[in-house]
Symmetry: C2
Subunit: 352 residues, 2 copies
Amino acid sequence: MAETLTTTALTLKDIARQAGVSLATVDRVLHNRPGVRPDTVRRVKEAIERNSFQPHVAAAELARGRARRFAFVMPSGPNPFMQQIQDYLGEMSGWLSSRRLGVETVATDVFDPSVLAASLEGLSDDYDGIAVVALDHPGVRAAIDDLVDAGAKVVTLVSDVPSSRRHHYVGIDNIAAGRTAGALVGRLVGQKSGKVAIVAGSQGLRDHAERIFGFNQVMASEFPGLSVLPVLEGRDEDARSEQLLARLLGRHTDIVGLYNVGAGTQGVANALNEKALSDAGRDRQVVFVGHDLTALTRRLLLQGVMHAAISQNPGHEARAAVRVLLALARGEPILREQEKIRIDIVMRDNLP
Amino acid sequence: MAETLTTTALTLKDIARQAGVSLATVDRVLHNRPGVRPDTVRRVKEAIERNSFQPHVAAAELARGRARRFAFVMPSGPNPFMQQIQDYLGEMSGWLSSRRLGVETVATDVFDPSVLAASLEGLSDDYDGIAVVALDHPGVRAAIDDLVDAGAKVVTLVSDVPSSRRHHYVGIDNIAAGRTAGALVGRLVGQKSGKVAIVAGSQGLRDHAERIFGFNQVMASEFPGLSVLPVLEGRDEDARSEQLLARLLGRHTDIVGLYNVGAGTQGVANALNEKALSDAGRDRQVVFVGHDLTALTRRLLLQGVMHAAISQNPGHEARAAVRVLLALARGEPILREQEKIRIDIVMRDNLP
DNA sequence: CTCAAAATGAGTTGCGTACCTCAAAACACC
DNA sequence: GGTGTTTTGAGGTACGCAACTCATTTTGAG
C-alpha cells in the first residue's frame, strides 16, 4: 500500500566503513583531490553507488560556509518584461538571504555587443554565477566563454547564445513560439481567407527572426488560404509601428490577421483601432496575436482588441535562473523539466 | 550600476548582541518558548526586523537533524495523470534524498469518502506532511481537520476541499479552466452558429461541476450564437461516452463544438470520427476541446481531431506539493506565485 | 524586606560535511 | 635493504543553529 521512494540516513562515515577506508580518503575521492590509488577510488565509488549515497546538502552548504553571489546582467532602459524579472528577484529576497545567496543586477546596454562584452569581462572575479540577457554576437560569445574559463557558472536568460559554452539557457523556444502564434492566428481567423501582417522590432534580433521563421512555417503548411505580407520593422517603437501598419492596412483591405512579434504594442493597437472605426459595422475585425503579458496587453485582451498573447512567465524565468545557477555552483544535477520555460497562451478568459 | 538586493552575514549571535540579550533568549523568542518577558520579546523581534535577519536554513536543517517524511495519498487504479505525478516524484528522488526527505505514496480509493477518510486517519503519527487528492465530503473534511489538529501539514492536490483547514491547495482553478475551454470553443468555431455538446464524468464531481459552470458562463455571455446542449454524463468511461455522444450527434446535425470535461477521451474521439466519415467532404468538423495531456490527447491533437487541450502540468504539481509541504514544515513562507498551478492551453503547435 | 517564581545568562552538545595538518604505512625503484 | 615518493589514517576545527541544563539575576507578591 505504501511504496517507499526514498530512505536514506547514511553519512560519509558509513561510506568510509563500508569501503574499508578512512573518512579522509572518502573526502579525497568525493572532491577529486589527488593522492588516491585508482583501485581505492573505485572501491569508494562503488560504496557510494551501492547505497546511492547523496551528501546532505544542508551540511555541505554549512561546512563550505562561503556565501555565493550571482549577477544578473540585464538591459538598461524601461523594458517592462525585464522589469518584471527584477521585481521577482526582489520578491525572492527572503528565500535568497536564508540561503546566504546574494543576487545583484547589473544594468547595461545589451544591444551593443562591445558594451555588453565589456560589462561581462571581469565579472567572474566577484561572482560565482552570472545570468545574462545576451545578444548573439562573436564578441559576446567570447566574453561568455572567458567567464566560463574563469570558473564562473553562466546561464543565458531570455535570449540565448547557443554557440557559446554557457552552461544553460533559461528561456523559451522562440521558433515554437512563432509556430504557436501562427496556429492561433490561423485558427482564430477561421474560414476566411485573406492577408496576414507581421510587425517585428527587427529581423536582426535572433529571437524575433526565430519567431517569424516559426510563424511562416505554420502559415505556409497549414493555412494556404492566408498569405503573409512582408515583415514591417517597427524597431519596437510605438510611433513607427503605428505609421507603418496604418499604411499597410490602408493598402490592403483584406488583412484578416496580424502578428506582433515584439514590442511597440500601443502603436499597433492604435493603427488597428483607426481601421476598426472606418470599417464600423462591417465584420472585419483583424485577429491580433502578440507577445508578453503587460499592463497594456492585458488591457487590450480584455477589450477584445487583442485576441491572444504568447507569454513567458517572468517569475518562473527569474526563479529558474537562480535555481540553475545554484545547482551549477553546488554541483547538483539540474531538474531540466522543472527549469524549462513554457510558452503560455493567454486569452481573455485565462488571464492570470 | 550594480544594485544589491541582498547582503546578509548576520548570525543569531549578532542579533543577541544587538538586542542586548543572550543567545538563549533569542532562541526562546525565535521558537516561541516560554519564559521571556513581553518587553524582551519585543526587543529581540525588533533586532530581527531591523536587520531583516533570516536564519540560515542549512544550519537550521542540520541542527534539527530529524528527517522529514511526507505521504502522498493518491487514487489507486490506472489514472494516467496521477501516474505522471508519481513518476515525477520518482524523478525527484535524488533531490529528495540529498535533503533527507522521504516521500511515500499511499494508494487508496479516493472516490469512496469513508475509505479515503480511513486512509487518512493516523497518518499524522508517521508523517510530517500529507498531500491528498481529496474528495469534497464531510467525512473527508473531518479527517483532514484531524490531521491538521494532530500537527501534520496538509495540502490538497488536484482536487480541493476548501471547507477544510488544509494549509494549502496545489491545483488549478477549475472554473477558470472551464472558462478557458469555453473561450477556445467559441473562438475556434468562428463565425458559425450552432450547438455545443458537453461530455463530463459526472456533475457530482466538484472539479467537473466547476469546469462546466465556467464553460457555460462564457458561452452565455460571449457566444450567443452557440447554444449549449444538456451535459452528457459518461462516467469517464470510453464506451459509455462514445454511445451517448454518438446518439447526440445523430440527433443534432448542427453541433459545431464539443467540450470533454474529464476522461473517456477515446470514446469521444471515436464518436467524432464516425460522424466525420458520414459527413465526408462537407465542412462540418466539430471543434473539440478537452483536458490533460496524455499519449492519447497528444495523438489526437497531432491528427487534428482534437483542437486544444487544457492541461495542468503534473510535474509542476508534484514538485509544488513537495516544496509547499517542506516550507510548511520548516515554517518558511510559501512563494505563492511560484506554487500556483497554471492552466496551460496546448494546441498542436505548442505541444511540449 | 523576604522569598518564591519568573526571567535570563552562560554554556554544552551535536547535526554532516569541508578542509586542513601531520604522522604512519605502503609502495616503487635502485 | 635503503631511499624517496605516494597513499592512507587519524584527528581537529569550523560552519550556524536547535535544544538542552544549570546557575544566576530580576521581579513581584505578601
